[in-house]
């Protein structure tokens, strides 16, 4: 081995502290899938308490110690910890790292023909910062008082007076925010600067566009949360009162040690200023993946490609001015609520446009019902339900009854769980051959899809009825209320759905591990796709492309009239 950059790197440099975007992508993917599974386990435990309040949890009930589950009965404080951590883990440690960290890192540079990300070391740093954040979050389960238990939204004053777990949560969040910021700088620079010759912005696959907008959202929305996190840390550690008014009496004790003068609402503004764009961070890359998969499997160009891009940009922009629709119940006046309700109605339009474009793309296509396509297709109605049920929550008047009820839970889970997570599964089935050179087993894939689809709806559909009945979210035991007791049966159904969904993942897990070693070997371009990642070998070597490709056409040239095959890859000069 001669030369500076041809020597074989050590194992650690190659697989642990690697700077190769593909290795980092896989690291992100594996870590985030583990967290996703953990987050799901937390909710499966909570679902026991919800379905059978105060009853001893079978089998695993006695593993958690006296402070969490004495005699196998879950305590409210443990329930609250699980709830807060479920939200945090799913969003910040599971879904976003999968969408951006894993798929973004692995696929995006390949799709733009780049040898790597613009800042490979920064990329590594952002993974390890994420990893550290995850470790801190996990460790917080073991501190006195348990993990953070003030909800993933961490509203003060509750979070200001909460147990130590909250401080750990804040430190964990600071790590995760740092990771996202570094990542987003890297993504934007890579997409803008490292596109190969001929790959103009409007020849980019929609997925890359989605990643670009997402990165801008992360870049600009996360810092205010970081600021809010710093302020809350000051409140907790230095005794300041950014979020505390004067004259508080907690548990009968007058809080004389705090100066007062702060505002609990301030946190909500800073938090939702992040967290609303965060919603689009969760959905845009998912839409990007679904659009890719739909186009490939309908053998047809995406309908309204440009309209989709403009809608995405518009969504990104609008997402910064809708945050207060999470705060209609905070005593907001008519004028401000009218403004935010209006922006909320406006932001629904581009989502409708994107969804419509994807459905119309099916029209006059030749739809291949592959496993990734099934997940991508399922995304559409699920996202539609999630989007539609956002309407009653976006209008202040109907929000009065539905705010903070299970209706909200149903709404955003439809967007994120059968929506985004289905898109993630679609992505895994779709790009698995690129990453490993082997394909996942189809039959197991169909089984995985069918059961997941059924059970995920059984989990979330009843929540709309529960919400209508007025059952609040985050209740340890809803049967204390007459209106909660009346719909307890729905909770039971929901819970069984969740456990069955857990079982439905077994074929996937088996499939995943077996296929890595023993899956069917496939060609570099098994789906007959046009975008650049499929022109690289599977798996792509260090540096990605043997020769730097040049792009001659748009990303979705399928079924071009007169062409011999039904697809023309972007890097092919003239059609044969």
């Amino acid at each position: 081995m001669s030369g500076d950059h041809h020597h074989e790197p050590s194992f650690i440099r190659k697989y642990v502290f690697s700077v190769d975007h593909k290795v980092i992508g896989i690291q992100y993917g594996v870590t985030a899938l583990c967290f996703l599974f953990l987050g799901f386990c937390l909710i499966m435990m909570m679902r026991w308490q919800l379905a059978y309040p105060g009853e001893t949890m079978p089998i695993i009930g006695n593993l958690f110690g006296e402070a969490a589950m004495p005699g196998g009965v879950m305590l409210p404080e443990f329930y609250n910890s699980l709830g807060a951590m479920h939200g945090t883990i799913m969003i910040f440690l599971g879904v976003v790292p999968l969408l951006v960290g894993a798929f973004g890192n692995y696929v995006m540079p390949l799709q733009i023909g780049a040898p790597d990300m613009a800042f490979p070391k920064l990329n590594m740093l952002s993974y390890w910062s994420y990893f550290l954040g995850g470790v801190v979050m996990l460790a917080s389960f073991f501190v006195p008082g348990g993990a953070a238990n003030s909800g993933w939204t961490s509203y003060p004053p509750l979070s200001d007076i909460a147990t130590t777990g909250q401080t750990w949560w804040l430190f964990g969040m600071v790590c995760l925010i740092t990771s996202s910021l570094l990542g987003s700088v890297n993504f934007i620079v890579t997409i803008v600067q490292l596109r190969v010759e001929g790959l103009t912005m409007f020849r980019l696959p929609f997925f890359v566009w989605a990643q670009l907008i997402t990165s801008f959202l992360l870049l600009l929305a996360f810092p205010p949360l970081e600021a809010a996190g710093v302020l809350q840390l000051m409140d907790r550690l230095a005794g300041t009162s950014f979020f505390l008014p004067e004259g508080l009496v907690v548990s009968g004790v007058v809080q004389t040690q705090i100066s007062g003068g702060g505002s609990p609402i301030l946190w909500q503004h800073l938090f939702w200023f992040l967290a609303h764009p965060e919603v689009y961070v969760l959905i845009l890359p998912a839409m990007g993946m679904v659009a890719e998969i739909i186009s490939i499997n309908t053998r047809k160009p995406l309908w309204g490609y440009r309209a989709m891009i403009y809608s995405t940009i518009f969504l990104g922009f609008m997402s910064f001015i809708v945050w207060a629709h999470h705060m209609f119940m905070t005593g907001m006046g008519t004028k401000i609520s009218a403004f935010f309700a209006t922006t909320t109605m406006i932001i629904s339009i581009p989502s409708v446009v994107i969804l419509t474009a994807m459905v119309i793309s099916l029209y006059q296509g030749a739809i291949r019902f592959t496993v990734p396509m099934l997940f991508a297709l399922a995304f559409l109605p699920m996202f539609a339900i999630g989007g539609l049920t956002g309407l009653p929550l976006g209008l202040p008047a109907s929000d009065i009854h539905l705010h903070d009820t299970y209706y909200v839970i149903g709404h955003f889970h439809y967007v994120v769980a059968p929506g985004t997570i289905f898109a993630i599964f679609a992505g895994i089935y779709h790009w698995f051959p690129k990453i490993t050179g082997r394909t996942l087993n189809k039959t197991l894939g169909y089984i995985h899809f069918a059961f997941s689809f059924i059970f995920i709806n059984i989990i979330f559909m009843p929540m709309f009825w529960q919400g209508m009945a007025g059952v609040s979210r985050r209740l340890y035991d809803q049967t204390v209320y007459a209106h909660g007791d009346a719909v307890q049966s729905l909770t039971v159904i929901s819970s069984w759905g969740a456990w069955m969904l857990g079982l439905a993942q077994i074929p996937f897990i088996i499939n995943f591990f077996i296929s890595i070693k023993a899956g069917k070997k496939v060609s570099d371009n098994p789906w007959e796709a046009t975008t650049l990642e499929w022109s690289a070998p599977s798996p792509p070597p260090h540096g990605n492309f043997a020769t730097v490709p040049v792009v001659y056409r748009g990303p979705y040239e399928y079924s071009v009239p007169g062409a011999s095959s039904d697809y023309i890859p972007q890097h092919i000069t003239t059609e044969a």
């Binding site: 909800g151 004053p157 053998r299 446009v353 099916l362 739809i367 291949r368 539609l388 049966s489 729905l490």
Partner: protein, 293 residues
């Protein structure tokens, strides 16, 4: 390609089954509510009963919205399913390269946008304005201070003089004086505390919401009233109960370990019973048992 067809049809069936699932649920559970009281009204899978004068506005909006959503989803779903069946890949079928030229989608989108505008401007804003802008006249209304704390709702009635006594954190005593009432204030003399919200029927109510510690949310399902209770702020809400009965007061914002226990009851009764209750609840009775623990 027979297989694809089977999968396509299976998908459709699964969608329908999933939509139906929650409606074909098991029968209602019929246990006594934790409090042991009988709570009035029929509770089930729909919205809770409405016991307030203006609550039906919110209900109407929610109903209209859901019919609209259902119409959209069904129309969209029919097109979606049609595409899946009609354009599945099969021998001799090839996708069309050129995009569809139909303008239907554009009109549909404009239609949706227009209807959303109507919902917002025509329905939501007037209701919101009514619940936020025009409080009932003070002299005609029952006035109650609602003070939330971990984990109890305290209701403070001004008594016959109609004026609330001064309160301050320094006077708080968890046993005798949960609200920190300044007993030296003459206005405080006839003030009454309760942990149950009693209100006269057919008379507007103004509740001034404050919190002693963290954020709570004052939720009266049967009145279609929900409002966050934020420490350091005094937020009024108002409504007019029109149906007598015993109902629930819920906390709708996570407020700590026992958030779920933060439940109170609300009794809507006629003027006479309300007056009697107000007399009774303020009375302090002597405890003369001499038990040893």
């Amino acid at each position: 390609m027979n297989r694809s067809r089977i999968i396509g049809v299976a998908t459709v069936i699964v969608v329908i089954v999933c939509m139906m699932a929650p409606t074909v649920v098991l029968g209602q559970t019929d246990g006594p509510v934790a409090s042991g009281h009988i709570i009035d009204g029929d509770y089930g899978y729909g919205m809770p009963p409405n016991a307030s004068k203006d609550g039906h506005n919110v209900d109407n909006l929610i109903h209209i919205l859901h019919w609209f959503m259902l119409a959209l989803f069904v129309a969209w779903g029919i097109f979606f399913v049609y595409c899946l069946m009609r354009f599945r890949a099969r021998a001799g079928h090839r996708a069309t390269y050129d995009p569809v030229k139909a303008k239907v989608s554009k009109y549909a989108e404009i239609g949706v946008a227009a209807f959303e505008a109507f919902l917002l401007i025509g329905l939501s804003m007037p209701i919101w304005a009514a619940t936020k802008n025009e409080p009932p006249a003070k002299e005609l209304a029952t006035h109650v201070r609602v003070v939330a704390e971990q984990f109890q709702w305290n209701f403070h009635y001004p008594g016959t003089d109609g004026t609330f006594g001064r309160t301050a954190a320094a006077f708080v005593d968890t046993v005798d004086n949960p609200l920190g009432l300044d007993r030296s204030d003459p206005a405080a003399e006839d003030d009454v505390f309760a942990t149950e919200l009693h209100l006269p029927v057919n008379k507007p109510v103004i509740c001034d919401l404050t919190s002693k510690d963290v954020i709570h949310s004052f939720f009266l399902p049967v009145m279609r009233v929900k409002q966050d209770v934020i420490p350091g702020m005094r937020i009024p809400v108002w409504f007019t109960p029109v149906k007598e009965g015993r109902y629930e007061v819920a906390c709708a914002q996570l407020c700590g370990n026992n958030h779920y226990s933060m439940r109170a009851e609300m009794v809507i009764e006629d003027d006479a019973s309300f007056a009697t209750w107000l007399e009774e609840v303020g009375k302090v009775e002597e405890f003369d048992e001499d038990e040893l623990d």
